[in-house]
């Protein structure tokens, strides 16, 4: 990571509600000091809610039901009946109102369909970004106003710095947990209404708070899988949802041009993948690119072709309406990789960004996010459309 926190404040983060910058916009509709907390049933959002309540805010919990799990599937990830029960139990233990909002329809359209469609097109989707953009920081944020709250708090490891003349989205101080990469799509004008109380904590401290507060979820294990796929394999999940005509079979070709084999659908591949290629070759091979036009999957050695840049689409800017002129910054092209220096220029509408790396980069993966940072601050980001060599 580019930034490592030099010190962390042990103890309890003070949750201050940010000031209202534009007076009179919706004050009549707001209950003073009320905060809505998005609760998944995990330890992070449980602590977020309990800390808000502990500090005397009028706290309301809300869980999103995003998909239904079959009655006979006990594997539980978020949104399973167990998780909703856990969230409800935490809410009850700190005596705050709690509701379940049913967003299955929009989740299916905006996250699951998108997820399957991206694989169909040979791209690698980022469902967490889609969920943040279309559910948490869109319809759920809207919902807070109906509940009389200006503010939405979530358990993300990121920070919104409300101290300056404009809010700044920043990395969480725990470099292992920082989730700012997934948050670039928050509408700029919404930042003032969003709270990430855990952003100044280390994961260990969050667990400590959970135990101190006696929360039922204190020792709940982390979930890392894609929530709606559950414990299963995402390839199977995608395959079950692809019709026969949507499968794009093709050849597996070495970067030298040699045809090494065939496959029965590009949805099974992602850039940088090594396992499951079904090839025998005297060297380790990695997927370097996927050509949806003819179904070709290009493989090669790990230190194969590096890209000098990329094109990102559907960009959202957080630090300004749009960059004025070329932007020197750092770009992060995957979760859990270091950001690298780059020069970013934008198209006419600022939704398209052209990124030139200072040093060429490998495994530029269409469908993943390219997030632009300056130090700790998230400037904006977009979805990788293609690598440029």
């Amino acid at each position: 990571m580019a930034t490592t926190p030099t010190s962390t404040e042990a103890g309890t983060p003070e949750i201050e509600l940010p000031p209202v910058r534009e007076a009179g916009d919706d004050l009549g509709t707001i209950v003073e000091d009320r905060v809505v907390v998005a609760m998944s049933g995990g330890v992070d959002s449980s602590v977020t809610a309990a800390l808000c309540a502990e500090q005397g805010h009028d706290t309301v919990g809300i869980s999103m039901r995003l998909y239904s799990t079959p009655q006979d599937d006990y594997s539980g990830s978020c949104c399973s009946p167990d998780d909703l029960f856990d969230a409800r139990q935490v809410a009850a233990s700190v005596d705050m109102p709690f509701y379940v909002a049913n967003y299955q329809e929009v989740f299916r359209e905006r996250v699951i369909d998108y997820f399957v469609d991206e694989y169909r097109r040979g791209r690698t989707p980022n469902p967490c970004v889609a969920c943040n953009n279309h559910l948490k920081f869109d319809i759920l944020l809207d919902r807070t106003l109906a509940l009389g709250s200006r503010y939405l708090a979530t358990g993300h490891y990121a920070r919104v710095d409300h101290s300056g003349d404009r809010p700044k989205l920043k990395r969480g101080v725990d470099p292992e947990k920082d989730q700012s990469y997934f948050l670039f799509g928050i509408p700029r004008e919404a930042l003032d209404r969003i709270l990430f109380p855990l952003g100044s904590l280390q994961k260990d401290e969050v667990r400590e708070h959970a135990r101190r507060l006696g929360l039922a979820t204190a020792d709940k294990p982390e979930s890392h899988e894609i929530c709606f796929v559950g414990g299963g394999d995402y390839k199977e999940y995608v395959e079950e949802r692809l019709s026969e005509k949507d499968r794009r079979p093709g050849k597996i070709v070495h970067q030298s041009g040699e045809v090494l084999g065939e496959h029965d659908g590009i949805h099974q591949f992602t850039i940088g993948q090594r396992r499951g290629l079904g090839l025998s070759y005297h060297k380790r091979l990695y997927v370097q690119s996927i050509r949806p036009e003819d179904g070709t999957v290009v493989v090669g050695p790990k230190d194969g072709l590096a890209a000098r840049g990329l094109v990102a689409e559907r960009c959202n800017w957080l630090s300004f309406e749009r960059p004025r002129g070329p932007l020197e910054c750092e770009v992060q092209i995957r979760y859990r990789t270091d950001p690298v220096p780059a020069l970013v220029t934008t198209g006419d509408d600022a939704e398209t960004a052209f990124v030139e790396f200072v040093e060429p980069q490998r495994a530029v993966t269409p469908g993943q996010a390219a997030v632009f940072y300056r130090g700790d601050e998230v400037l904006g980001g977009g979805f990788i459309e293609e690598a440029r060599s």
Partner: protein
Amino acid sequence: MSNRIYLDWNATGPLLPEVRDQMQQALEGVPGNASSIHQDGQRARSEVERARRALAEAVGAPAQAVVLTGGATESNNQVLRSHARRTDEPRILCTAVEHPSVLEVVEQLGEEGIDVDVVPVDGRGQPDLQALEASLREGTTLVSAMWANNETGAVLPVHEIGELADEYGAVFHVDGTQALGRIPVDFQDLGADFMTLSAHKMGGPKGIGAVVCREGRKVGPLMVGGHQERGRRPGTENVPAAIGLRAAAEAVSARLEDWNRSLEKRRSLLWDALRESPVPVELRGDPERRLPNTLNVAFDGVDGEDMLLALDLEGISASSGSACTAGSLEPSHVILAMGYPEDEARESVRFSFGPTTDRDAIEDAAERILSVAERLHGLA
């Protein structure tokens, strides 16, 4: 939160104080199985029979007519399924605004290959009697209609429907769940073959209800494995619930007229207050033939679910329709059947109250509802 106001009696109501007292005594003092021969069993048996009589008396039926069940959903399933099983060429008809425990059984029977039909309703939620008669003419063998609708409070013309059914020789089932304790319910006078009931909408406990059967009409059990209720409802009798049912039924017999009158005043009070709202508000259901305890309203441009959550935060418990369908994205099938488009159907909010809802509560509730409606309308 203290100072909460409970306006969701059509989902379920709190126990009447006398019901709670009697049930507490029962939980401590009546250990026996009503089918056992010993004195503890006999005591339990006598409590069950007292409950049967009290309910029979409250609805103007002989005691032998009453089969105690686990509630109205079970009762509805039992009447419809029993008819389908025992009838040659059954053809089952219900209205489009029935409770899911009727409507979904009818749908399921349809999927199983039985002839079924659903009669449409008009904008007030009243069934189209011509369509009903036409369906009877085509050989309908059972008509199922609710006495009063749980979502809008519309009181259906059950006597007229009964006469039609009679004319064509069809069996007539009335779901009386929402009527009992609110309007006079007289089974003899109704002339239905079966009436289904529940205890918990009128101050009794959850988990007990009944099928009332006209003399000479048979209903078979849903389950097997016990001879209880003369072979019509197997399973050990729920004695504490039966005792609660008795206390509630006795209260209905003694106080229905008072309740009816005061509920009607509360309803007028609430509606008069709500219609003063600067936000345009619409009354849904039948403005004339209706329950005295139910108001279904829609505030212009205000989503019903948003309204319910916001009201809850203000200390008011209300509902957008049947609790059985709440939590789903689907707008109410009742409001849709009345001809409202989906987005308007989603605006419906139901307030329903009971004998212990007092005047102050209604006045207080009206203020909170108005302020929430205004706030949400501002966001729309």
